[in-house]
């Protein structure tokens, strides 16, 4: 019962990070700040959601698989964010300044 509450809490926190990331993606002024919002939110949000699902699964094997998925998504997300940002710099898109 307690684990259920914990899992729900983790899922909600994860959902909040996804929401924040999406708002950032829509509202931030340029490609760099949007990437920042997106990758931070996805890494943390997915981490919380994976943790919640792992608790709910009640199996070490499933939890291990979820952990591997999270690590792979973080690896891919960070790398792709870097590639997009580098390409934007090469195209002389100047970072936004207040």
């Amino acid at each position: 019962m307690l684990t259920d509450y914990l899992a729900v809490l983790l899922l909600i926190v994860g959902g909040f990070f996804f929401l924040a990331g999406t708002v950032g993606l829509l509202r931030f002024p340029d490609v760099y700040t949007r990437l920042h919002a997106l990758t931070k939110a996805d890494n943390l949000g997915l981490g919380f959601i994976m943790a919640g699902l792992a608790i709910q699964s009640g199996s070490w094997l499933v939890a291990g698989k979820l952990l591997v998925i999270w690590l792979l998504v973080m690896l891919a997300g960070a790398s792709v964010a870097h590639l997009i940002a580098r390409r934007a710099l090469q195209r002389d898109i100047t970072p936004w300044q207040r």
């Binding site: 792979l72 690896l75 891919a76 790398s79 870097h82 590639l83 580098r86 195209r91």
Partner: protein, 319 residues
Amino acid sequence: MATLIPVWFDGLLGLGLVWFAWQALSSDNLFRAIVLFVAFGLMLALVWVRLAAPDIALAEAAIGAGVTGALLLAAMARLNVVIYEQATDNNETSSPPRRRPASELVALLAAGLFVALAWTLYHLPLDTPGLRQAVSEQLANSGVSHPVTAVLLNFRGYDTLLELLVLLLALLGIWSLGQCPRQAEVATGEVLDALSRLLAPVLLLVAAYLLWLGASAPGGAFQAGAVLAAGGILLLLSGWRLPARLTRWPLRVLLAVGPLLFLCLALISLLLEGRLLQYPLAQAGGWILLIEATATLSIGAILVALFMGGNPEPGQPDE
């Protein structure tokens, strides 16, 4: 579990699917259309999950969204479309979409087809067992324990055989159009290098896992082949090129081994059992594994070759 997800979620999913399809079709920016198409594919994969068809969901996500998206992007790169000009000039130059003279007729035909399909769907009985009964009765004779794999590789093996041949034919069509474009060497950077070095072995492992899993759970040759292809495309993008000595025979053998072995086994089964693709009962599991393993290699190789977009053989220089 399923009852926890309310109807509106499914409704939202279905509407979202239609919305993505419409956006992808009506976008006049090619790049945006491709991105929307990939999003549409992922949405469709979710729909398949909700319809309790994880096999198709996997195939749709890997082939429909992933590999096809990569193919479309590669095709766009060769179209010489200057996306950025399009994107920036859009506001000035975009005019309302031209109306083609036949558009009313096409719309009418599409609407008619939609009504006919909806009518048929509405009159389908809700709870039909379909062929589930027949499949589960014969499952023990198929050599595998996953019903989808039993249908794809045994009961209706010739469908899968023909799918493999269609893939090979598509590649032959592309090769007959010319050589693959000589890609300019670009410095891809340390991050992409490190990523591809890390991911290539992982993708190989995942492909083998999906292939092995196919006997008892959702997975199999097409999904595993698509994952292999993803690894190959990643390597190509990070600057790896097929060594010239491998482009003649080794590549051709790899491309054809799956369909050829499938055909050979089909002929052997015709001679042994008197029917095409009627595997000997005791060896069915082994035959399916052999077919799926070679099919995985060929599917992966064919998809990567499709991405290359032409015959990689260094022949006479292009005119």
